[in-house]
Structures are given as C-alpha cells and as structure tokens.
C-alpha cells in the first residue's frame, strides 16, 4: 500500500510574517518550517502504516520553491519513506485552484491508495485543499477527522462537523484530512534523523506532470491581490491590578460604559 502525505513549508507563525511586493507571501525574510498541522498528517500516515499487515510506503509530497525541500526533510526525519518535491518556476503565484491542479497531477502519477493532509496550512489557512483534491481525483473525501480506522480497503473516521459529530466511511482510494486532535506527532529521534539522509527525494517539474505552464501559477490565478496592508497593531489599554475588588469595579464600569450590558 502507498500513502501520500502532503507537507507544506510555511513561514514560522511565531515570527514576523508579511507579503512581498508582488502580493505573494514573503518566504525570504522569515524563518520557515514544516507547517505544524502537517505533522499530524505525517503521524497519522505512520500510525496506519504501523497498524497494517502490508508493506506500507509513506511518500511526503510538497510543491514550492527550493526551500520547500525542508518540509520533506522534516517529514522523512519523522518517518516518511521517501519524498517528491514538485518545483517549477511557473508554479509561483498559484491560487488554490492551480495548487490543487498540480498536486492532483502529482498524486495521480504516484498512484497511492490514500492521501493524507493536515486540516489547513498555518499560513494560508484556507483549509480547502483536501476537498479540492477529492473533487479533482474523483475519490471520496473524509475531512477533519480526529479518529481514523483502516480495515482492509475501508476507511472509517469520526469528524466533528459544524452541527454534528459524524462517523463516516468510504472505500480507498480516498483523501483524508486530520485535525490536531488526531494524535500527537512523534519527535524524530537521532536514528531517524540519520536515516532520513539516505532516503530518496525526487524532483518533478510541470513537464513530468504533463501540465502546461499557462494552466498554473500567477498567470492562471483567478484572483489578483490588489493590496496588502499590515493592520495597525492593537494597543494596550488600561491595566488595573486587582486589589479589594478594584479589578471587578473596573470591569463592570468598562462593560457599562461600552453598553455591553
């Protein structure tokens, strides 16, 4: 069996994040890392692999510029078997539609039984890729799962939807996204870090995927960023140190003055 896990290299959320002049996310001026939420996808892939009687290969797939290889490297250290990095200058500036087109083509080429993703990236946070891939591939999509069970070719998950918690099921091949409640990701041990250096990472470009340059990237994007502006940071207001009920008095006054009551 083969599982493809999607990984994304993102600007570190705890650092300063911003935009480049062309309206794309600034990936140069900030430190990057594997999106935290993708670690749960890698973890889930490994858990399924470990629980299976079959030989399971876990392929970490990413797209993006050279730096994105670091996301694969981290996934390999955590325990993925190999990596595929889709890298092509013409991909730059892709919107979600373009991104899903490229990733769906790469997934088709890899012919996996299961695709696992995180619930969203920590930079774009759209959270739409799993659904878009499911639609493009024509495979069932089980999203936002916190409990996952694979029995033969039958995948059963529990997901917390907007209005109900549901147990849903589908047959492989399928697309699965997991939440941060699906199981704590393991830390890569020294042994795995060393082993990761020997694992194979392939680089693919648009030609390898049979895609035309004008189908993706900024040229094909259906939205144009017109303006990006930093929001004025919130200002610290009054701080009252509670003593003899002064804190409660200040809060009551704030609520009354603001007509919140």
């Amino acid at each position: 069996m083969r599982i493809v896990t999607l990984v994304k290299y993102v600007p570190d959320a705890t650092g300063e994040r911003g935009f480049s002049e062309d309206g794309t996310v600034d990936r140069e001026g900030t430190d990057g890392r594997l999106s935290e939420l993708d670690e749960y996808a890698v973890e889930q892939s490994l858990r399924l692999a470990e629980a299976s009687d079959d030989e399971v290969e876990v392929v970490a797939l990413t797209m993006g510029p050279d730096d994105a290889a670091d996301a694969i490297k981290k996934a390999l250290q955590i325990g993925a078997s190999s990596g595929v990095h889709v890298c092509d200058d013409d991909i730059a500036g892709s919107d979600a539609l373009g991104t899903s087109l490229v990733l769906a083509a790469a997934i088709r080429k890899l012919e996996p039984d299961l695709v696992i993703t995180g619930m969203a990236s920590t930079d774009g946070v759209m959270g739409v890729l799993p659904a878009m891939l499911s639609e493009r591939l024509g495979w069932p999509g089980l999203t936002l799962a916190h409990t996952v069970e694979l029995d033969g070719r039958t995948l059963t998950v529990v997901r917390d939807g907007d209005t109900a918690s549901q147990r849903v099921q589908a047959e492989l091949p399928a697309v699965l996204s997991v939440t941060d409640q699906s199981g704590e990701p393991r830390y890569p041990g020294l042994k795995n870090v060393m082993a990761a250096k020997k694992k194979k990472v392939e680089e693919w470009d648009l030609d390898d995927l049979g895609l035309e340059a004008d189908a993706v990237g900024a040229a094909a994007a259906l939205t144009t960023v017109r303006e990006t502006a930093p929001r004025p940071p919130r200002q610290a207001g009054r701080v009252v140190t509670d003593s003899d009920g002064s804190g409660a008095a200040a809060l009551t006054e704030f609520l009354t003055a603001g007509k919140y009551v």
Partner: protein, 318 residues
C-alpha cells in the same frame, strides 16, 4: 445584474444570523437567490424575503440532508449553472469551506475564504480578508466569471430589504462519485442555550488560569448573554470540548467584545480572536502577552474578579 447564490443555513430554529448577513452582501452584488438544501418552512421563506431574497430554491434530496460536502457541492454547481450565477456566497465554517473548495473546482471559479468584506468590482467581486492571525488585511479582485466566497460571521450588519421571494422546489442529479461517503452515525451537537460561538456579540473564553473550573467563566458569560470559548491549553487538558476552542486550529471569532480569562495570549490563540472589536483580559500574570492587546486588562484571579462582576451585573438588573 446577474444572480448571486446564497447557501442558507436554515432549519427548525429558523435562519441563521450569518445567512442574513450574506443576504445583505448579496444585495450589493446582484439578485440574491437563496438555496436551502433541505426542507423549508413558511417562516424561513418570510425571514429570507424580509432580508432581500428574490428567490428561494429548496432542494429536498435526502442525500443532502446528511450535510456531507460532496453532494452539496454538486447540487450547488448545478443550480449556479442553471441560474448563471456570478457569485456564490457561503458562511465560513469548516463544512462550508469543504463545499466551497469543491464548488470552485466544478465551476472553475475564483475562490476566496474567510472574507470580511465583498464589494462589486469591474472585472468581478473585490474581497477583503484578514490573514496571518489578523495582522494583515488583503484585498483581492476576482478575474473569473464566477466567484465562490466564504464570509466570516459578524463581517457585516444584516439589514432588512423586504421583497416577495419566488419559491421553487428544484431537482438535482447526484453522481455516484459525490455520494461515495457513507454516514454510519450522526450525533447532533448538544444545545448549550448560549449563542453560537462564531455569531455571538460577546465571547468569554477560559484558559489555563481556570484550573479546569469553568463555572466562573460560564456564569459571567450567562450574565452577559455571551458564548463560551476555551483556549487550546484548556481543551488539551480535557477541561472543555474541542468544539469551543478558539485559535488557529479551532474557531475564529470576531465579536464586539472578547473576554480572555486566564489565557496568556499565545499567537495561536490571538489568530482566533485578534479581529474582535474590543478585548478584555483577566489574568494573574502581569507579564501575560494578552495584556499588550487588551483594551482593559485586569491583573487578578479570574475566580475572584468574574464572580464579583457577575454579581454586580445581576444586582444592577435587579
């Protein structure tokens, strides 16, 4: 003007507040056509009409009732095509985003999620989004014939604009592909009697500082008619259900007032509440980063401060 499809959240409890907000936005962009995936009532139609719905389409297909995104997207794609819609608006919820992503693929549409504003533009709609934990605002223009936009609740004040809607029951054809997921079991979320977290005007959240006791937070919230939220630390400790988690991996809220009780205010938490109109923080630690962004900060024990305020509010009400 072309038609603008609004996917309604409507049920026995009536029409959701965010749906009415979408209708207000839709009126700027064209003729609002509301789609109800499921049964509708006279009261629902009336409310939608009062807020400017020129047409209400109901689709009574059983497979759509289960709430799974794939068949919903397929149904919406057919209706958007039939009506030659230029925009489809949905409320930003995880389930609706699943639908929106699928719909964008089906319609080759521009896709914008978590918009805080939608305006008509020359080539297509112009949207604004708040990104990077609310620290940046992005304005984008659609260049496609169709745009699919999910809008965050509380982005606009719902306004009335009464019309008599044309009501129509429509049929859709669902493929095997989009009905490949089976629902084995469905348990509706328990009603709390409090407002919906993402729609509430006031949200009171508890964190590590509650020590696992949310009684003071809940009583204070109830005195204000507020929704209750929780930080990831509180959820991970098993003190409050995940459905109430505010932050990067939970819900994003933008209420008029956000009260953070015993929450330090890590970036991941701020991502979920930074766009609130006003922020109040109660925390024992004077160094907690949440104080840097609070309009009012109280350095003190929430278990003392909140019950005192709750009592004062009750007394004031008599």
């Amino acid at each position: 003007m072309g038609s603008v499809i609004v996917l309604a959240e409507a049920g026995e409890q009536g029409v959701s507040k965010p749906t009415l907000e979408l209708l207000t936005l839709a009126r700027r962009l064209g003729e609002p056509v509301v789609v109800v995936l499921g049964e509708t009532t006279g009261e629902v139609v009336q409310t939608l009409g009062r807020h400017g719905a020129t047409a209400v389409l109901t689709v009574a297909e059983p497979a759509l009732q289960e709430g799974l995104p794939a068949p919903r997207a397929e149904a919406l794609a057919q209706l958007a095509g039939d009506r030659q819609a230029s925009v489809v608006l949905l409320t930003s919820t995880p389930d609706a985003k699943d639908v929106a992503g699928r719909l964008a693929v089906r319609l080759t549409a521009a896709l914008v999620t978590d918009a805080i504003d939608v305006q008509p533009g020359e080539g297509g709609v112009v949207t604004r989004q708040s990104v990077f934990a609310g620290s940046w605002t992005v304005e984008a223009a659609s260049t496609a014939d169709v745009a699919v936009v999910t809008v965050k609740p509380n982005s606009v004040e719902a306004e009335e604009a009464p019309v008599e809607p044309a009501v129509e029951t429509v049929q859709v054809t669902l493929s095997e592909t989009s009905t490949a997921v089976r629902v084995l079991e469905s348990s509706p979320k328990a009603a709390t009697g409090r407002p919906e977290l993402t729609e509430a005007a006031i949200v009171v959240s508890g964190g590590r500082g509650t020590g696992g006791d949310f009684a003071a937070v809940e009583a204070f919230a109830d005195a204000l008619g507020a929704a209750v939220g929780a930080s990831r630390a509180a959820v991970d400790s098993g003190w409050y259900p995940h459905a109430y988690q505010i932050g990067q991996t939970g819900k994003t809220v933008s209420p008029q007032l956000y009260v953070a009780a015993g929450i330090s205010g890590a970036i991941q938490h701020r991502a979920g509440m930074q766009t609130s109109r006003a922020v109040v923080a109660v925390n024992k630690d004077p160094e907690a980063p949440i104080f840097e962004m609070a309009d009012l900060g109280v350095v003190g024990d929430l278990h003392t401060v909140l019950p005192a305020v709750t009592e004062q509010l009750r007394d004031a009400r008599g």
